[in-house]
């Protein structure tokens, strides 16, 4: 017996039980027509016969029973009374059903049609139409062309209580195509008010897919009634413009979505920063909303670009995310290779060692060419800088020429992207505070046209970017009085001119007397410095009063992999970025402290040192002879005392995560060949942190005590 026959048989047996049940319920109902439980029994019997009947191939039975059931549904709702006439009809209907089931493949008889017609008379008008028996939507077929949709899904806060996982819905969207999901966390209440069983997140999804709108709607079929759901087609794959014309601007997208009012937008547009930043600052939209709009821009741009790519072109466009994946993989490979080298190094097998060296060479090449793919010439940003200079100088009624050098200097794509804002800020500073008005310049005998030079060039493993202007320069005395006023500097202190000038990087420091709408917004040089430090770069200023100032930004070529020097202190391993390292010397136990403090002799000079063992509070016995790694920090030499220098190592940088973002002196971590973790030291902040700490200690303690601790 096939499974289908088996199921049909099961249904027939069930119907054999149900029909007598129906009959007895009807008989009782004849005596007690008001009994609602009896009405329910009749309804349930009919309902099951109908439902199961159609599932197991008894279509005629199902269709006929549907009519009877519909009447009894009305009876249940109190809209149709239980009459003698109705009961008679139902008894007859039951007999017909029984007869129909007895003969396989039977068709509806004329008697059944008559009964059905009479029953339908009893039903109030609207309900009379027969069931269509059809459910679900027609999923539209993928057309092969990709469309971009904007989907905003704001589930009911109680969605979890219906056993629905909203994340599973997002996953389903991802299965349809490339989805960029932006989670909105704005509506999440404070912890005290938060009910963990509620969902306060909502999502914008920019979906690029070859599926139709209905397929997207189907994903939300069970929740759409209770959720805020909008699905809009942004870009069709077939028709439409070519990739050269831009997609809507950020402002247009936000207004279109109703996130921001056109007037508010216009007000915000009148100033000159990046629109997204401005809107966020003004509190008109949240950062997430902006990110979401930007993602939309990106997705549409991608689709357009894809369309416009000429297959015969010699270059290939690759989404940046794929490159990121590749870089991650190469990072993993480098770690695995380090492990291999370490393991093989301990073995005597020459052949194996040869292979390991071959792999090392290949993975080095692979790393270099992979990182090379991500390199972009910095010149791609120059156009934007020209625009900034042109617009601002006009607004400030200044005559300024921008000269750019080294447009083909290449930098990691991420570095270029994240460098944009700080560099624009520096340019603004030069325009706003540096270059004088034409009249002023003429009075000082300078050419009326001011000049800003923007240059980029390679210097070792770094890229050096300089922004210099021939403006009024920075007055050290102004900085001094300002620093004293801000209590950043004590009135007795006598810092060098250079040190004074670098006070402009202190938080909250702004020398501009009036706050203009260009710079002096409170987001000052300290933010610039922070941004650049985040890229593991450094920034410093040189200035000569009256003849201009120059800002020097030094950046590493890439953010992903660095050469590092691995050192050990006690059981802990640390990585010191190799570019900072000058040399390594020994620190003999007897010699330590003989130069009146924490100083070590390096040829003909004394170099101060930091004991990492003390700074990181490591226990354990220090060895008889310790090693000192001499690093250069802002042109000065400082020694880092460690137990052992292990050697040079390829270091794949892993972020420590947000929790540790305020830890100074450590910029990240890396996974070593044996799988354990080593922290990467951030030398500049580390040295500054230690000397600030020392200064604080020495101002309260006696010098003698300090000598003892050495």
């Amino acid at each position: 017996m096939s499974r289908k026959d088996q199921m049909q048989q099961a249904f027939l047996e069930e119907a054999g039980d149900l029909l007598p049940e129906l009959e007895s319920a009807l008989l009782e109902l004849d005596e007690r027509p008001e009994d609602s439980e009896l009405i329910n029994r009749v309804f349930r019997a009919l309902h099951t016969i109908k439902g199961s009947g159609s599932m197991f191939g008894f279509e005629a039975v199902a269709e006929f029973t549907h009519t009877v059931e519909t009447v009894f549904d009305q009876v249940r709702n109190g809209e149709v009374p239980v009459s003698k006439e109705l009961l008679d009809l139902t008894f007859r209907a039951k007999d017909e059903i029984q007869a129909l089931l007895a003969e396989p493949g039977g068709q509806a008889s004329e008697a059944m049609a008559a009964i059905a017609a009479e029953l339908r008379q009893m039903i109030p008008a609207a309900e009379a139409s027969p069931s269509s028996g059809h459910s679900g939507r027609q999923a539209s077929q993928g057309s092969g062309d990709e469309n971009v949709y904007r989907i905003r899904f704001k589930p009911d806060t109680n969605i979890l209580a219906t056993g629905t996982n909203p994340l599973a819905l997002l996953d389903e969207l991802r299965e349809l195509g490339r989805a960029h999901v932006i989670a909105h966390a704005e509506d999440i209440p404070n912890l005290q008010e938060l009910d963990p069983e509620q969902c306060h997140y909502w999502w914008d999804v920019i979906l690029t897919t070859d599926q139709g709108k209905n397929s997207i709607r189907d994903v939300f079929i069970f929740v759409e009634d209770d959720s805020e759901l909008s699905i809009e087609l942004l870009e069709e794959g077939v028709a439409g413009g070519d990739g050269s014309e831009g997609y809507k601007r950020l402002g247009e997208i936000l207004t279109e979505r109703g996130d921001v009012d056109p007037q508010e937008l216009q007000a915000a547009l009148d100033s000159q920063k990046r629109l997204g930043e401005l809107l966020v600052q003004a509190g008109l939209v949240s950062e997430t909303q902006v990110r979401s709009a930007l993602a939309e821009q990106e997705a549409v741009r991608e689709v357009r670009e894809k369309r416009s790519v000429d297959p015969a072109e010699s270059s290939v466009r690759v989404p940046a995310a794929k490159l990121d994946d590749l870089v991650n993989l190469v990072g993993e490979l480098v770690i695995a290779q380090a492990r291999l080298s370490q393991t093989v190094g301990g073995l005597a097998d020459q052949e194996l060692r040869g292979i390991a060296e071959e792999i090392e060479r290949l993975s080095d090449e692979l790393r270099d060419s992979t990182l090379g793919i991500r390199m972009l010439p910095i010149g791609s940003s120059f156009g934007k800088f020209r625009r900034v200079v042109r617009d601002l100088s006009r607004q400030k009624q200044k005559d300024i020429e921008l000269i750019t050098e080294g447009a083909d200097t290449e930098l990691d794509k991420t570095v270029i992207e994240r460098l944009n804002d700080p560099l624009v800020h520096l340019l603004r500073n030069s325009i706003d505070h540096g270059i004088e008005s034409p009249e002023e310049r003429a009075a000082q005998g300078k050419p009326e046209q001011g000049r800003i030079v923007f240059s980029a060039r390679h210097s070792g493993g770094n890229v050096l970017i300089t922004i210099s202007d021939d403006g009024r320069g920075i007055d050290p005395e102004t900085i001094r009085s300002k620093a004293i006023e801000k209590e950043l500097l004590s009135p007795e202190a006598d810092p060098s001119e250079k040190e004074l000038i670098n006070y402009i990087f202190e938080p909250g420091f702004s020398t501009s007397k009036e706050i203009s709408d260009i710079s002096g917004r409170g987001v000052g040089m300290d933010v610039v410095k922070q941004n650049i430090s985040a890229l593991r770069g450094s920034v410093e200023v040189e200035s000569e009063k009256g003849s201009g100032s120059s800002v020097k930004v030094t950046l590493p070529l890439t953010l992903a992999i660095i050469e590092g020097l691995q050192v050990r202190v006690d059981e802990e391993h640390y990585i010191i970025p190799l570019p900072a390292v000058n040399e390594c010397i020994e620190l003999n136990g007897q010699e330590a402290g003989t130069h009146g403090g924490r100083l070590v002799r390096l040829r003909d000079q004394l170099v101060p040192y930091i004991k990492l063992r003390d700074w990181f509070c490591l226990e354990g016995e220090k060895p008889e002879i310790e090693q000192v790694v001499i690093v250069s920090v802002e042109d000065k030499l400082v020694g880092l005392v460690v137990d052992e220098v292990i050697g040079q190592q390829q270091t794949v940088i892993k972020n420590l995560g947000r929790v540790y973002k305020d830890v100074r002196g450590v910029s990240g971590a890396t996974i070593k060949g044996d799988g354990s973790i080593a922290l990467i030291l951030d030398v500049d902040p580390l040295v500054r942190e230690v000397s600030a700490h020392e200064a604080a200690v020495s101002s309260t303690a006696k010098t003698a005590q300090r000598a003892e601790t050495v």
Partner: protein
């Protein structure tokens, strides 16, 4: 480990069909004949429930309500079997906390697609 789905229906043929379909697709199936039976059998690992609405003793709506106010199975997906004519019932079921529905009459692939959608 394969997931366990409970099918609740007073019609043995529907139960059998749901059960066959799910077992063929590799799920474990627990059968219950009505809401009360379902509550009695609800223990251990049950990942999803497919329930009819019209049943004697404890009906489908009541069953959903009871499960949603329990602790152990509060967040599992519950699918109700409805008919086209039962829109009010469907609304009532959704209010009680049903995750989704399958409209009767249905075919085995429909059950599977809903199960796969909700049971992730």
């Amino acid at each position: 480990m394969s997931k366990t789905i409970m099918t609740v229906d007073d019609s043995s043929s529907v139960r059998q069909m749901v059960s066959f379909t799910l077992k063929d697709a590799g799920y474990e199936v627990i059968e219950a004949t009505d809401g009360q039976d379902a509550l009695n059998r609800l223990k251990g690992s049950v990942d999803m429930i497919i329930t009819d609405l019209n049943m004697p003793n404890v009906d489908g709506i009541e069953l959903i309500r009871k499960i949603r106010s329990s602790t152990g199975y509060k967040f599992i997906p519950i699918v109700m079997l409805t008919t086209e004519s039962q829109d009010e019932k469907k609304q009532e079921g959704k209010k009680a906390g049903a995750s989704g529905w399958i409209v009767k009459p249905f075919k085995p692939p429909q059950i599977l697609s809903v199960v796969q959608k909700l049971l992730k």
